[in-house]
């Protein structure tokens, strides 16, 4: 896998250059409660603060129930916080927008549309399909799905379906891609392939990505920074900058990061109570 050179050193340098710049996404003092069916109030996120610079690839990791998906939904605008603000390019997020692409865990393709029609959905919904028709095939090629245009979602594998979902989000030219455990339901080979594809796309488009995952290796492999969250109420436990010379899953650096993260997560799960 070391053939994918994403030169994280350069990336770090890039974000240093932009240190003075306003963050692309700014999450400040977020509180989010949910009321359960029995009327209990569950605090899902408590005082979450996070700034994300343009071009960063942030991994958010934590045990289930720590509110990482909720945090991602707040950034996309699919959900609203009770207190605190999420700003995108300096403006508060008040609803979903194609400039913040979202990739769901699985099963988000429209089963009655072909692969091609799924990718074209955003263009059609925004009424720009006629002008930008050709991009559909470009993006399908980009995620390696040329030849599958006319298949329906139930005819393709889970990994391919996620690639369709990614192409569908990318065609809207998002400035940030929000990934909600997009590889959670895939086998490890497909997962490794998709991770590299994501890195390629990230490099190619100099895109900002926020990835929610429960896989420590994935978080380290992809992220420039790993945000560790603790549950009940969900808050940010720690932010670990990742500085790997190569993205090599068996290198000493990688193993060291893994050990450190696992220690933190272990503490998060058991020591937090």
């Amino acid at each position: 896998m070391s053939d994918v050179l994403t030169s994280p050193v350069e990336t770090v340098a890039r974000s240093d250059e932009r240190a003075g710049e306003r963050p692309l996404i700014s999450i400040s003092h977020i509180e989010r409660d949910f009321v359960t069916d029995n009327g209990d109030v569950v605090q899902v996120l408590s005082d979450v603060n996070l700034d994300i610079a343009r071009g960063e690839l942030i991994s958010i990791i934590g045990p289930s129930g720590c509110g990482k998906t909720t945090l991602l939904r707040l950034v996309s605008g699919l959900d609203q916080p009770q207190r605190g603000t999420v700003t995108f390019k300096g403006r508060p997020v008040d609803g979903p927008n194609p400039e913040r692409g979202y990739v769901f865990q699985q099963g988000s393709l429209f089963p009655w549309l072909t692969v091609r029609e799924n990718v074209a959905f955003g263009l059609k919904a925004q009424g720009v399909y006629r002008q930008r028709k050709d991009e559909v095939d470009e993006y399908l090629a980009k995620v390696g799905l040329t030849g599958f245009e006319n298949a329906y979602p139930h005819q393709i594998s889970g990994g391919m379906a996620q690639r369709v979902a990614i192409a569908r989000a990318l065609i809207d030219h998002p400035e940030v891609l929000l990934l909600d455990e997009p590889m959670g339901a895939l086998d490890s080979f497909t997962r490794a392939d998709l991770q590299d594809r994501l890195l390629d796309l990230w490099e190619q488009y100099h895109m900002t990505m926020i990835l929610v995952t429960h896989d420590v290796d994935e978080a380290i492999y992809l992220g420039n920074r790993v945000v560790i969250m603790s549950p009940r109420p969900g808050r940010i436990k720690k932010i670990v900058p990742i500085d790997l010379a190569h993205r090599d899953r068996v290198s000493d650096d990688f193993t060291a990061y893994r050990k450190a993260l696992l220690t933190d997560l272990h503490f998060t799960v058991h020591g937090g109570e």
Binding site: D3, V4, R54, G55, S76, L78, G95, P96, N97, P98, R100, G101, Y102, F104, G107, S108, F110, P111, W112, L113, T114, F121, G122, K124, A125, Q126, E135, E138, A141, K142, G144, L145, T146, G147, F148, A151, Y152, H154, Q155, I156, M160, A165, R168, A169, D172, H173, P174, E175, D193, D196, R197, D200, E203, Q204, Y205, H206, M207
Partner: protein, 386 residues
């Protein structure tokens, strides 16, 4: 936006790098062909659940030409039975007119058997070159042969010796007789039924889809209309007939009204259910892709509800046949139900059976038509096991 400009030239490099690991990226087409074939096979074996190969044990080793001959043989036997068995019971065969042919029931029956035998021979020969069709033809041969024997038995018991109680069980020749003696009248009544059915069913389905979408999508419509739908929907439409006949300007409109309400309920109910069961994730995905609420309704919720809508249409269809015939029997100046009602007065059970034959054919064709539309609209479900 400049940071995400599409650069195709750049994409070539990662593609090439990936090619070592991901074969599907390099050669997707053959893989897809295989997959699609698999899907097609699944469809074929699913639709022919009683698959030819498995079930035709008796005829598996018969050469195909003999299978064709065997299929036709049943009808030939029926024909021979009709010609050779002496007429014992005193039956009078009335002469009638079929287009330019002056025939009686007996001759028409013989003609029908000849036609059936010839048609099956023609189909058998046409299917000979297509393995799947030939297998299907082979599979059905036994049943068709048996159908011929059944006709022969019916002919002997119903016409030749009349061992069945009369006039309730006329033979095939007598059932064909009304088509010869009063073919125009049957056609007129069939047309009346068809017109009534089309008007009521189509309006009912359209109204049903519209109300279903409103109920399923708008919580206010759900609050006010759904309880009404739930209560009035369970009442058989024909119960309203006295009101309909009194309040509507013509009996035809009254029957249309009954057909509308009987098809409206199941369609509205199932459309609403389909709309409401739209997965939240699909709606959210559409919103992140920039779809407006009306766009989501028409391009996500309604397509998602389509399978459910067609289930409702299927139910409405069966209910409409029922409502159609009952309302025609109880107060229409025409139609197949009216025809049966009139025949009943004269104890002309052969005419009743003739009308029943017309219904069997007509309603099967209508159901087939709906099935075709359904298959076309829901083609994405092909091969999807639910």
């Amino acid at each position: 936006m400049s940071s995400v400009t599409v650069d195709l030239a750049e994409s070539a490099a990662p593609q090439a790098r990936r090619s070592g690991r991901d074969q599907s990226a390099v050669k997707p087409t053959p893989l897809f062909t295989r997959r699609r074939n698999t899907a097609a096979n699944t469809v074929a074996s699913a639709s022919d659940a009683h698959s030819p190969a498995r079930s035709t044990v008796a005829l598996r080793f018969l050469p195909y030409p003999l299978v064709v001959a065997f299929t036709a043989a049943g009808f030939v036997i029926a024909l021979l039975a009709n010609i050779l068995v002496p007429q014992i019971a005193p039956v009078e065969f009335k002469q009638g007119q079929l287009w330019i042919l002056a025939l009686n029931g007996q001759e028409a029956y013989q003609g029908l058997l000849v036609i059936l035998a010839l048609v099956y021979i023609a189909i058998g020969l046409a299917d000979a070159r297509k393995p799947a069709a030939a297998a299907r033809f082979r599979y059905r041969a036994q049943f068709r042969f048996a159908a011929g024997l059944a006709l022969a038995a019916w002919d002997i018991a119903g016409t030749k010796i009349q061992s069945l109680p009369q006039p309730f069980f006329p033979g095939p020749a007598q059932v064909l007789e009304p088509f010869l003696t009063s073919g125009d009248y049957i056609a007129l009544n069939t047309f009346y039924s068809l017109r009534l059915f089309a008007a009521g069913f189509i309006v009912g389905v359209i109204l049903g889809v519209v109300t279903g979408v409103l109920i399923g999508w708008f919580s206010r419509a759900y609050y006010w209309v759904f309880p009404v739908l739930k209560i009035t929907g369970v009442i058989p439409a024909v119960a309203w007939m006295p009101f309909a006949l009194t309040l509507m300007p013509t009996p035809f409109i009254a029957a249309v009204f009954l057909l509308v309400i009987c098809s409206w309920f199941p369609v509205a109910f199932l459309t609403a259910q389909g709309i409401q069961s739209t997965p939240k994730m699909l709606v959210e995905a559409s919103r992140t892709l920039g779809a407006s609420t009306p766009y989501i309704l028409f391009h996500v919720a309604i397509p998602h509800a389509m399978p459910s809508i067609f289930t409702g249409i299927g139910m409405a269809n069966s209910l409409s046949f029922l409502t159609l015939i009952i309302s025609e029997m109880m107060g229409q100046p025409g139609g197949l139900g009216y025809y049966i009602d009139q025949a009943k007065v004269w104890s002309a059970y052969n005419e009743i059976l003739a009308a029943i034959v017309v219904m069997a054919v007509l309603f099967s064709l209508i159901m087939k038509l709906i099935e075709l539309v359904r298959g076309r609209v829901l083609r994405w479900q092909k091969g999807l096991v639910k």
